[in-house]
């Protein structure tokens, strides 16, 4: 079977074609932000040509996109109207009333400055449902009709319907949808009881409004892409990566575009999991470093973890949807180094971007960046840029580092360059430790997968700092994300609030709701054309100790729901709480707040094939020798080392390399530190470990 993964980023679109024989063809092309489907379809044409097949031979198409993310970050979504409960017009404006910065009179409150729904279009109607789901005040349908007509006259592109306690009883929201269908059938509609059926009104309304805000544009994009793919004869429907690390069909993605908000960054983590598995190391930490930012993910046993409710945001908006834990920080090849007026050495988060870019690019940038530092340290050679058809001027890097860092700090150029690297690497180390050590995971149990153009430059040092025993540099670090698209399944998660205590659990309620969720998930997958034999269900429960304010997500057992099931779930919660907070209170009752079902529709995954075997001697792959800067122990003086440069394409399984060494390939450079040795494994991954003493 021939499958393609297409990962559309802000600058580049990465494409990968994979067949069951393990043949891999990759392609990188500039993104076309005006209509990303144009660049995508053109790229697919080139990819197929390189593989020597017609486009119509492609059977499956998997896609990761930042379309949804960009609409939110650039504030250019639809004009949204809102129908909400009388008396609660401004919940989106008040939000959780906590300002982002403590010490600032001049900050903006993003939800007020860039409103998802302007106040004039937030319309209220008489209705009220209480916490038990009982209707206290019936819906005034005439008012609904009047407000929908007003919104139609104003030409809104989407309507969010948000009533209090609709997660418990959606009857009023559903009635409003029926009225909208009569009065304004062409408008995009989002119901809070459907988009995020859980208690916490602000987060639910915000998620629903976000869905409406991005809905029209995202569904147009997805529909266009699916139509183009179909027209080109590509076999199955387009599958899109969701924030939770599963796939959705085009149809599902159009209904719940909010599930695509972090689509673009999840695939890198999934790719890392597959790479780790292929090399026999399932527990991975992934580090994907590009020009302006770095993505960090942690997957114990190759399983994604979901973010805490307080952390599921996009930009400054809350989105109460499952998001796999991947963090993006402002650290990359373009990160700018400076010495501030108080004499402190700083690197990032500001980036020189592609324009003006690092000083050595000679595009007008004069400030030193981490790329300039690595040119000075001899890790990035002029030749390596040349294979990317670019010329660089090391003397400009030297001048920038000298003027802006070495002179103000009264230190040598070598130390200044090393400092830029180490300080930037430290911010990545911190991000990884935030998601590992501080969540109760020991980095010594993981392997670090280096991805992106710059990840393999940093990984060796970060692994040393955190005591991660092993670095894996995949065969194609630059397209690990695109590959990740081909390694997961259709996954639809549906939650509901049950609000019951383990001390006196409402077992019937849980059982009834669980059954309903499983049926919903199953019918969703059937509608996507998945056979029953490929469908499975996963359960989880959001729990907290009675009286706490925030839940933790706990995997829950399969099988019949009874007192024993509740006890097993509570036991699992004690473990998760203990891991997260180093405290467990087994005598306290556990509050089961939400239950969740994830319907999984199995999709065949790619298999990473083996490469040609060679001996231990990697000598034949050496293409040059260079001088490169390293240091022996922390903190110590930098020294210059004679360093061999290897050609990645010539490495063979079984080759061994002793650090210091540099490995170059088309779109990435790998550094092997002086304390490390590396082996090329059967599937062509470089496995780097610390030299034994």
């Amino acid at each position: 079977m021939k499958r393609i993964g297409v990962d559309v980023g802000g600058t580049f679109t990465d494409l990968i074609l994979w067949d069951d024989a393990g043949q891999v063809v990759v392609h990188k092309t500039p993104s076309t932000p005006a209509d990303p489907s144009v660049g995508t379809m053109e790229g697919i044409g080139v990819l197929a040509e390189r593989a020597g097949i017609p486009v119509s031979d492609i059977e499956m198409f998997f896609h990761g996109t930042t379309v949804a993310t960009n609409i939110v970050l650039e504030h250019n979504g639809a004009d949204v109207g809102m129908i909400t409960t009388d008396g609660f017009r401004d919940l989106l404006h008040i939000a959780r009333k906590k300002r982002p910065l403590n010490y600032s009179n001049h900050q903006d409150l993003p939800w007020q400055k860039w409103q998802l729904v302007r106040r004039r279009n937030r319309r209220t109607v008489t209705e009220r449902i209480d916490a038990t789901g009982t209707v206290l005040t019936p819906l005034d349908e005439d008012q609904v009709r009047e407000q929908v007509r007003l919104l139609r006259e104003r030409g809104v592109g989407a309507i969010a319907v948000c009533f209090l306690h609709a997660y418990r009883n959606p009857v009023h929201e559903e009635r409003v949808r029926a009225i909208i269908a009569e009065e304004f059938p062409e408008v995009f509609v989002s119901l809070s009881s459907q988009v995020a059926p859980q208690y916490r009104e602000y987060e639910r309304f915000s998620t629903t409004a976000l869905n409406a805000f991005i809905g029209p544009k995202v569904s147009t994009y997805v529909t266009n892409l699916a139509d183009s793919a179909r027209a080109a004869g590509i076999g199955e429907d387009v599958h899109l990566m969701t924030s939770a690390g599963g796939l959705a069909t085009a149809r599902s993605a159009c209904e719940a575009p909010v599930s695509l908000l972090t689509s673009g960054v999840i695939a890198g983590l999934l790719g890392g999991c597959a790479i780790g598995r292929a090399s026999g190391y399932p527990s991975v930490i992934t580090l994907d470093v590009g020009g302006t930012s770095a993505d960090v993910g942690v997957a114990p046993d190759g399983k994604l973890r979901m973010k805490h409710l307080l952390d599921t945001r996009i930009g400054d908006y809350h989105a109460m949807v499952p998001m796999a834990e991947v963090d993006t920080i402002g650290a990359g090849g373009g990160s700018v180094a400076s010495v501030d007026e108080g004499g402190m050495f700083r690197v990032g988060p500001r980036s020189a971007g592609a324009v003006p870019g690092p000083a050595c690019y000679d595009r007008g940038g004069t400030e030193p960046t981490s790329t300039d530092a690595m040119v000075l340290m001899g890790w990035l050679r002029e030749d390596s840029f040349l294979s990317g058809n670019m010329t660089v001027r090391p003397e400009l890097a030297r001048a920038a580092v000298d003027t802006h860092i070495a002179q103000p700090l009264d230190t040598s150029l070598d130390r200044a360059a090393m400092g830029i690297f180490k300080i930037l690497a430290y911010s990545m180390t911190e991000a990884i430790s935030l998601h590992s050590v501080r969540k109760g995971y020991d980095p010594r149990d993981f392997s670090l997968v280096a991805e992106g153009g710059a990840g393999p430059l940093f990984a060796w040092h970060i692994a040393e700092q955190l005591g991660i025993p092993r670095v894996i540099v995949p065969r194609h670090p630059g397209i690990a994300s695109a590959m990740g698209l081909l390694t997961t399944d259709l996954r639809y998660e549906i939650p509901t609030t049950v609000w019951t205590s383990s001390a006196a659990p409402d077992v019937d309620l849980i059982a009834t709701q669980m059954k309903r969720l499983e049926e919903e998930a199953r019918s969703q997958l059937r509608a996507d054309g998945v056979d029953d034999e490929h469908i499975s269900m996963e359960r989880s429960v959001d729990c907290r100790y009675m009286g706490q304010g925030y839940e933790l997500r706990v995997p829950a057992p399969d099988g019949e729901i009874d007192e024993g099931w509740v006890a097993a779930t509570a036991a699992a919660f004690h473990d998760v709480h203990g891991r997260t907070y180093s405290q467990r209170f087994e005598d306290k009752p556990v509050h089961l707040v939400n239950i969740r079902v994830t319907g999984v529709g199995a999709v065949p995954h790619i298999i990473i094939g083996e490469i040609e075997t060679g001996g231990e001697d990697a000598g034949p792959a050496i293409k040059a020798t260079t001088r490169a800067l390293f240091w022996r122990e922390e903190p110590s003086a930098p020294e210059w080392f004679e360093t061999p440069v290897y050609d990645r394409a010539l490495l063979r399984a079984g080759n061994r390399i002793s650090g210091p060494a540099i490995v170059e390939q088309f779109d990435s450079t790998t550094v092997i530190g002086i304390n490390q040795q590396a082996t090329v494994d059967a599937v062509g991954h470089i496995i780097m470990e610390r030299k034994s003493a």
Partner: protein
């Protein structure tokens, strides 16, 4: 703590005892240790609020956490709410006066005495001494506001006779001694509060938080050694001090006075406003916040602990204005260095420096007024930094009652938001916690699931915002229906002296509590009530203050005025009267000619 000197005041900065060797730290290691200190404080705070029980800790992040040296000098602190920043050093000085020389590894100390450093008594503080190679070298500490401390009234208190009536005091109590837990003492503490289960959970969260700090700091020492870590910490404190002093030097030397402000009353003697006098003196790179002339101390809980609350406020206000995080690219960490250039003075026996044993439980409205006055004092000389008057109060309401079992209490404390004054270049922020407060609200749906209260309304106030070139922020209105008989306690203010306009902007709007509005039982309540009873079926409407305007309203962009009308903040009449803007409400456009004429006629008048 040295004696108060009228000419210089005192600061929160501590004295260094160098038990380590000062060494050179290279710039890279310096950055790494600085980053590690900040992230350990942040991590401590996160553990505390995510596992806490009290809604004030978990939702409001009414907590502080950090690492301190043996004298309580702050090496790093979490940025949770400004009110807690800089209060922990005073707790440590408080416990040191009793316990210095007795610390052992494995000790855990609980403290809440407001005359010995506590911010106020409901803010439990937990301190753990950190040992390195057998030597006591510092503390990991944190504070958090618990739901009830067994005072005269559940949750909050106002009309109480003294500090013993406001709650149970714990002065430097070792709840663990050399690793051995004193269960009997802990039981005694919990037996004497109305919310024992919640307080037990919060105490465990505080201990977990401080232990985490102890562990993380020890790991840092293991990696770099005591001399390097402490020398780097010194350098960071000097850095923060230097950055703040640079900005202070840019203000012309002088004495800047805010308009005298008035608090409504003391919660008992109705109709007698309390004076707040704030003078900011700038002298080179030093600032003094002088509260001379403010009211004498009052016979209720409406006094302010000087060390634990006035000093952190002075620091936060100056830091906010001069190193505004939005306008400053560099992150300047919160530590002892920020305290050094800022001193405060309040006469003994005044509301800002009461004499023992006056109660000082309810202090937030007063310190927020001080912060607001510092802004107003500096607005003429720093128009690009300081802002118009904000909702300079805090509206806290404790709802409580006997639970269905008839034995335990339910207590729910709600911190209602405020709003900000207009700013040069931007309208004031609407509906948000202001100045020293920065807390989250609780989901309405959660409250309705937990308590017998039903939300009727939660929206922006319908009255128009304070006019200005940059209009004032808008406060909210929140209405609760009590489904059972409910006790009410409140600490609020800003009924009689609304947020002030600046540089030609209009004054904002006061707040209000109205019981059963729009009925024949309508009744306006005082801002501070003690054990007021609401019957089942009663409705309470809470209106929060709206901030003052900044600059001349006639200079406001007419398009912005039109937008405000379309968003139903203003009527077309308001636009004409207050802004000199004439609108065509059929086409929703500005009548530019008529507007120009009206505005020039107004300017000539």
């Amino acid at each position: 703590m040295t004696a108060l000197m009228p000419t210089t005041g005192v600061s929160l900065a501590g004295e260094a005892t160098r038990t380590w060797k000062d060494v050179d730290v290279d710039p890279i290691t310096l950055r790494v240790i600085g980053g590690a200190l900040n992230s350990m404080a942040k991590e401590m705070a996160q553990v505390l609020y995510r596992m806490a029980y009290s809604s004030l800790i978990r939702e409001s992040e009414d907590l502080g956490a950090g690492i301190f040296d043996v004298n309580g000098r702050e090496l790093c602190e979490s940025d949770s709410t400004p009110m807690h920043c800089g209060s922990i050093p005073a707790y440590i000085r408080g416990i040191n006066r009793r316990l210095a020389g007795t610390y052992q590894p494995g000790d855990v100390v609980l403290h809440n005495h407001p005359y010995h450093g506590a911010a106020h008594s409901p803010d439990y503080g937990v301190m753990i001494p950190i040992f390195w190679q057998g030597e006591h070298i510092g503390f990991a500490g944190c504070t958090g506001h618990v739901s009830d401390i067994g005072g005269n009234f559940p949750g909050l208190c106002m009309d109480v006779v003294d500090v013993w009536a406001e709650g149970k005091l714990m002065d430097s109590m070792k709840i663990y001694e050399a690793g051995v837990r004193n269960d009997m003492l802990i039981q005694h503490i919990l037996d004497n509060v109305r919310t024992p289960e919640q307080n037990r959970g919060d105490l465990e969260a505080l201990i977990a938080c401080a232990r985490l700090g102890e562990r993380r700091f020890t790991e840092l020492l293991e990696k770099y050694g005591l001399d390097t870590v402490m020398s780097a910490a010194e350098r960071w404190m000097d850095y923060s001090e230097d950055m703040l002093r640079r900005r202070i030097r840019e203000i012309p030397d002088g004495s800047y006075e805010a308009p005298i402000g008035y608090l409504d009353d003391d919660g008992k003697n109705r109709g007698i406003p309390l004076k707040v006098a704030v003078r900011v003196q700038v002298d080179g790179d030093d600032v003094l916040v002088d509260l001379t002339g403010s009211n004498d101390q009052v016979p209720t809980a409406f006094n302010v602990p000087f060390e634990g609350s006035v000093l952190p406020t002075a620091v936060s206000a100056i830091r906010t204005i001069l190193l505004d995080e939005f306008l400053t690219e560099e992150f300047v960490p919160q530590n002892d260095g920020c305290f050094r250039p800022v001193k405060a003075y309040a006469p003994e026996g005044s509301i800002f420096n009461p004499n023992f044993p006056a109660s000082c439980f309810a202090r937030f409205s007063q310190v927020n007024r001080v912060f607001d006055s510092i802004n107003l004092a500096l607005a003429p000389v720093l128009p690009d930094r300081a802002i118009a008057g904000s909702s300079a109060a805090l509206c806290a309401i404790a709802y409580s009652g006997l639970a269905a079992d008839g034995e335990s209490y339910w207590v729910y404390i709600e911190i209602n938001e405020g709003s900000y004054g207009g700013r040069n270049g931007k309208d004031g922020m609407d509906c948000v916690d202001s100045l020293m407060a920065n807390t989250r609200n609780n989901p309405i749906e959660e409250l309705e699931l937990n308590h017998a209260m039903r939300a009727v309304r939660y929206e922006l106030r319908e009255e128009q915002p304070a006019p200005g070139e940059w209009r004032g922020g808008i406060g909210s209105v929140r209405t609760w229906l009590m489904e059972v008989d409910t006790f009410l306690g409140s600490e609020a203010d800003n009924r009689s002296d609304p947020p002030a306009g600046a540089l030609g902007g209009h004054d904002g709007r006061s707040g209000a509590f109205i019981r059963n509005p729009g009925t024949d039982r309508e009744e306006v309540l005082f801002s501070k009530v003690t054990q007021e009873v609401c019957k089942a079926g009663d409705v309470l409407e809470i209106r929060l203050p709206s901030g003052g305007g900044f600059g001349d309203p006639l200079a406001r962009d007419p398009q912005a005025v039109l937008d405000d009308v379309e968003d139903e903040y203003l009527t077309a009449e308001d636009a004409r009267r207050d802004y000199g803007v004439v609108l065509d409400t059929d086409s929703w456009t500005v009548d530019e000619v008529a507007t120009r004429e009206l505005r020039s006629a107004r300017a000539a008048a």
